[in-house]
Structure formats: structure tokens, C-alpha cells
Symmetry: C2
């Protein structure tokens, strides 16, 4: 564990696809969605504590989630980087880079989402450590690619080059292309080819490499935060951050930078990863009863039902009959009843509802 190793956990998402468990005032990363006793943020933080010094782990989140972060993690308030508004991942990373730069100009940084599931911790730690060595030694933007286990249409894919690996282990490859979520036919081709990996959204790079890439490809995101490079004595205030955010476009690091840079690499990994982006993703990761139902809730009584996802609080009595391929979730006076096939529409439904009644969600 080296002192110049840093980690940035992005925890500003609002997780609307996990409604009604995930709510605007308590999104998915702050929930014990897997039922293990730890929230996803806590799981993520504890995993990175195995790799970098805990005081080098920063959480970037929206101002409104500050107290939730400090409740869930034993960290100093200086480790919580507060965003005044949501502007996707590129501004979030540019901002965190500047904070880290003030402490350690030769940092090697892992950037990670806060709300994913990882089941094989040992393999995860190995992959990250290998990546950090590579990023330390090379001017490289490294992304973690997950060897696909099914023709998933809900993920973006990374295509690795067939050229020889610059890494002795052969696990690190140059990236050829990033692709959007494919249709099923294409996903099957990706799965068979062996050269395509799920894009985990986890990145590793040295501060100098990522700064250089920002300067080349996203100066409009980089420049608003340059005032933070001024000598340490000069304080920045929340108004200055607010101004920087207002000047930034809302853009993802994938689209704005990774797809354009020429020094992008992928580590092939297989550490039991899921983005837990949807109820179906949770279903796939979970154990089922004999009828392939995933049922949570001490007082959930389910009859003649199959292939369904049911999550009830213990103090709600559910009697359900005749469910097939359905999602039924009750939480905090919100009830979702939705076909599993339609779950991509939950986000749209929520938008419609929000446009009618903003106060109730």
C-alpha cells in the first residue's frame, strides 16, 4: 500500500431504476440492497481500504448526500468532495483530480462507482494492484473490463486489440473501441469473439496521464477547475466551485475522453461483477426459491408464482398469487409492480410521475 495511491469513489447517482427502494433522498449506493448488512457504498469503501490508505479515499457526491456519507463511513469530512450539481462523470473526476493534486502531484488514482456489486474480492484486489503498477509505469488510461458470462444487452462493451499485451501477464490489452449497449444478436457475437469485455466504469491512471488527456480532449471541463491548482494557502469557497460547475458541460468520462484518447488500455478481469443497475441485475446475482422467485420480506406470502422479484419490508403483509416474471417492490410508501421485461421503462414512468407530482417521490 503506497502513499501516492488514491481512490475516488463516485457516489452522486440517484439510482432511479431502483425505485422504490432507491429514492432521491437516499439513492441506491446508500442502501443495503444486497441484504448483507452493508450498504453498497460501505462495501465499495471497505474493498478499497485493502488497496489504498483509507485517508486517501475520496467520496464525490452531491451536497445533499454529505451527511449520509459521513454517517456510513468513518472518514474525515475533508474526504467528502461535494458537487453542487449533477454533471455526469467527467466534471466529477476533473474536480477530484485537483483536490488530490494539491496533496500528491504524483498520485496514481483509481476511480470507481459506489454502487456496484463485486463478489470475488481477492480477484478484484489482484486486478486493481496489477493495474496500479501499470499506470505508475506507463502513460496509460486503464479501464477494467469484465469477461462477459452472458450476452448482456444492458452493458456497454470494450473491444480489446489483438496486438500483443504490453504487460507480461498478458492481462492488459490496448483498447480498440468502446461500444454502446448492443442488441441481443450483437451481444451474442461479442460473447463468442472473446475480445469484448463489459465496461465496469472503473478506471486507473496517474494524475499526470489523466490531466494530459483532459487538456487534450476535454479542456472545457478541465479549465474551470484550474483555479484549484493555485498555491495551497489560497482557499477556494463553495461559490467558486458552484461557478466552475455552472461552466462545465455535463458529459461522461467515457464519451468525452476515453473514446478519444489513444493511450487507453483494458485489464481483463473476472471478479464477479454486476453494476446492479436494475432489479433484474439484482435477480441474476441472487439465490432463488424452487419456483425461481427472489423473495425478501418476513411476511411476504407468495402462491402460484414464478420467476419473480419480490421485496417487502418485514412490517408489510403481502399475499400474492399468480405472478410470472414480475417485479413487486414496496418501500417507504412507494409500490412498484412491473413486468421484468419492462423494467427499463421504470425510469420513464418515474419521469412522468415526477412531472405531475414532484413532492411525492
Amino acid at each position: 500500500m503506497q502513499n501516492n495511491h488514491y481512490c475516488v469513489i463516485m457516489a452522486g447517482g440517484i439510482g432511479s431504476r431502483f425505485w422504490p427502494r432507491s429514492r432521491t433522498n437516499k439513492p441506491k449506493q446508500f442502501l443495503d440492497i444486497t441484504g448483507t448488512g452493508e450498504t453498497l457504498l460501505q462495501q465499495t469503501f471497505n474493498r478499497f481500504k485493502l488497496i489504498v490508505p483509507p485517508e486517501n479515499i475520496f467520496i464525490v457526491t452531491n451536497e445533499v448526500y454529505r451527511d449520509l456519507v459521513l454517517e456510513q463511513l468513518k472518514i474525515s469530512f475533508e474526504q467528502v468532495i461535494l458537487e453542487p450539481e449533477r454533471k455526469n462523470t467527467a466534471p466529477c473526476i476533473a474536480y477530484a483530480n485537483k483536490i488530490i493534486e494539491r496533496r500528491c502531484p504524483d498520485a496514481v488514482i483509481i476511480v470507481s462507482p459506489s454502487d456496484h456489486l463485486i463478489t470475488k474480492e481477492h480477484d478484484f484486489v489482484s486486478a486493481i494492484q496489477r493495474g496500479m503498477i501499470f499506470a505508475q509505469q506507463n502513460d496509460a488510461l486503464l479501464t477494467l473490463g469484465i469477461a462477459p458470462t452472458r450476452p448482456e444487452t444492458g452493458y456497454g462493451y470494450i473491444q480489446a486489440s489483438e496486438a500483443i499485451s504490453p504487460d507480461k501477464t498478458g492481462q492488459i490489452k490496448k483498447v480498440k473501441t468502446f461500444t454502446e449497449k448492443p442488441n441481443l444478436e450483437m451481444a451474442k457475437i461479442f460473447l463468442e469473439s472473446g475480445n469484448f469485455y463489459w465496461n465496469s466504469g472503473i478506471f486507473i491512471w496517474s494524475l499526470s496521464s489523466i490531466n494530459a488527456a483532459f487538456e487534450s480532449y476535454l479542456p472545457e471541463v478541465f479549465i474551470p477547475f484550474t483555479f484549484l491548482s493555485e498555491p495551497k494557502g489560497i482557499n477556494y469557497d463553495s461559490m467558486a466551485i458552484r461557478k466552475a460547475y455552472s461552466e462545465c458541460p455535463s458529459i461522461s468520462i467515457d464519451y468525452g475522453l476515453m473514446e478519444k484518447a489513444q493511450n487507453v488500455f483494458v485489464i481483463k478481469s473476472a471478479f464477479g461483477w454486476s453494476d446492479l443497475g436494475t432489479w433484474n441485475a439484482l435477480y441474476e446475482q441472487s439465490s432463488h426459491d424452487i419456483n425461481r422467485n427472489f423473495i425478501r420480506g418476513e411476511n411476504a406470502f407468495v402462491y402460484d408464482s414464478k420467476n419473480s422479484i419480490i421485496q417487502m419490508p418485514n412490517d408489510v403483509v403481502l399475499i400474492a398469487d399468480g405472478l410470472d416474471e414480475m417485479i413487486v417492490v414496496f418501500s417507504d410508501n412507494g409500490l412498484l409492480i412491473c413486468k421484468r421485461n419492462d423494467e427499463q421503462r421504470i425510469k420513464d414512468f418515474l419521469e412522468i410521475v415526477k412531472s405531475k407530482k414532484t413532492s411525492i417521490l
Copy 2:
């Protein structure tokens, strides 16, 4: 409105087929299940106020519902007849008869359930008044039959004799048989025949006629309550009532008496009646949206769904998608999700749940 006209409203049911709206501590008759602003008991009481003096209306209910009755109706506590246990309709009627006998030995009595829906009040009042005149003048046990409008398999039927009506209007006929709930094929034959009526469970008789019938056909129910005929000065206490109930068999007035007596008549009626016995019965009586959904709840948002019954409290946000022929009801931390075709099983499901967890329903 005559002083010897009395009414007995039976309000002791527990309405388990309307779970989760109807609960053991607040059954269906005490709920505004139609959304009109009045509970079914209030609707029933107010309807009979048009026919008999309000002080002559008695409510028979279980001891545990006494306060609910007195909250909902402006009546004296002496008008609430309390049963110590549930023993079906015959003991309930025998007990109420004795209470009325002490005040008015020549009473003519209407007996009615408390939890049915009646939409045509004017026709209802006409039918009851005609029946009371007939019961006053004849030694007759009169039942109200509803002209069927569909081949309903959830109701019992009354077959009227084809003999000439003893009543000048031709609306009152001798009863030939009572039948149990038919299958669909039989129900269609009943509907076509024109001689079969739905058994509404509403009865009209003079005290002398019903007492005579009890003595002949149900002495085991009649005798335990005879102590109540003793001179007015002698008080009865709740222990005596408890003893009488413990001695009575649990038996319905239909099975124990009406099916056996020879002087049973039916008034043919059509006053928009439903026993509201089930969610489907409520659905049939209600207006629907363009997709034939019955939706209640200010924050119930339902997409791509049809032929379904949805009842949510206003403070629960529902997002539902892909429902077809389903019942979805949330009330007081109970959630029912059930195929409409399976609703007869709700009662069974509840029994199973109760056997596991008695405290939660």
C-alpha cells in the same frame, strides 16, 4: 312509518374476502368501500330510516365492534345488540327477536345484512314497504329476491313457484326451492328461466310468524333465548347471553329455517343490489377507465394494464405496468396482488397466513 315496524341490521361479519381493506378489527361494513363518504353500515342504516322509526332499528354485532357502531351511527347504546361469539345468522335473529318482543310483541321485522350495496333506493323502499304490508297480513316468511342480470355463480338463488301470486301486484310469489351457488351452466339456465332470483339475505316477517317457525324448525336455537321473554323487570346479564350462545349451534337462518318452512315467499325486486362480497363484485358495480381498470388512489400511476382492480391509499405512490385481470390493493400495511379469477382463494390464503402468524392480520 308505523311504530310496530322494526329493523334488525346484522353487522357481525369479518369480511375476510375483502382483505386487506377489511380487517378483523375493522371489517367491511365499517368501511367506506364505495368511496361515497359513508360506510356500508351507515348507508344501510340511513336507508332503513326511510322505512322504520330510527329508534326501532337494532344493530346486532360482536362485542368487539360496539364502539365502531356507536361511532358511526347516532343511536342509543340500547339499540346495539352484542353477540359474545359468532354463530351465523339464526342465533343472531333469535336473540334480536327476543329483544324486540320485550318492546313490541306484534312487531313486523325486517332483517338485513349491513354490508350490501343498493343503488336504487326508491325501488328498494317500495319493495320493503310492500313486503311489510304482506307480512303484517299473512303468516309468511318473506325473502327479497333480486331479478338476476347475469349468470352469477357467486350467489345463492331462490326459485319462485309458478302458482298465482297471493299478492295483487303479482310481485310476491311462493318459494319453491332455495339453491346453493350454481355452476356457470346452471346459472345460465336460471337466468333464462325467469323464475330464479338472487337471494339477497333480506327477510321480512311478523314476530309471531318467525317465532312459530323457530319453534318448529330450530328449537335448539330458540330455546336458549326464551329466558329473555320473562317479565320486563327481570334483567338479563351478559353471562346469561354468553351461556345462551354457548348452547346454540352455529347455523344460518337459510339452511336451518327458510329451506324447511312451508310459508316462505319471495318479493321479486330489482333495486340495483350487490352483496359486494368480493373485489370482483365491487368491480362489477363500479365505473371503469378506458382500459376497463377500476383505479382508486390519487398517486396510483398505472400503465399498459387492463381489466384490473387497483386500490391505493392516497399517500402511497404506485407505479404499475403490465397488469391484466389483476387485483392490487394496499391498505394498512397489507398488500394483496391476486388474479381476479383466483379471488375466491383469498380467504384460503388468509387462513394459511393466520395459521402461521396470528398477530399480523
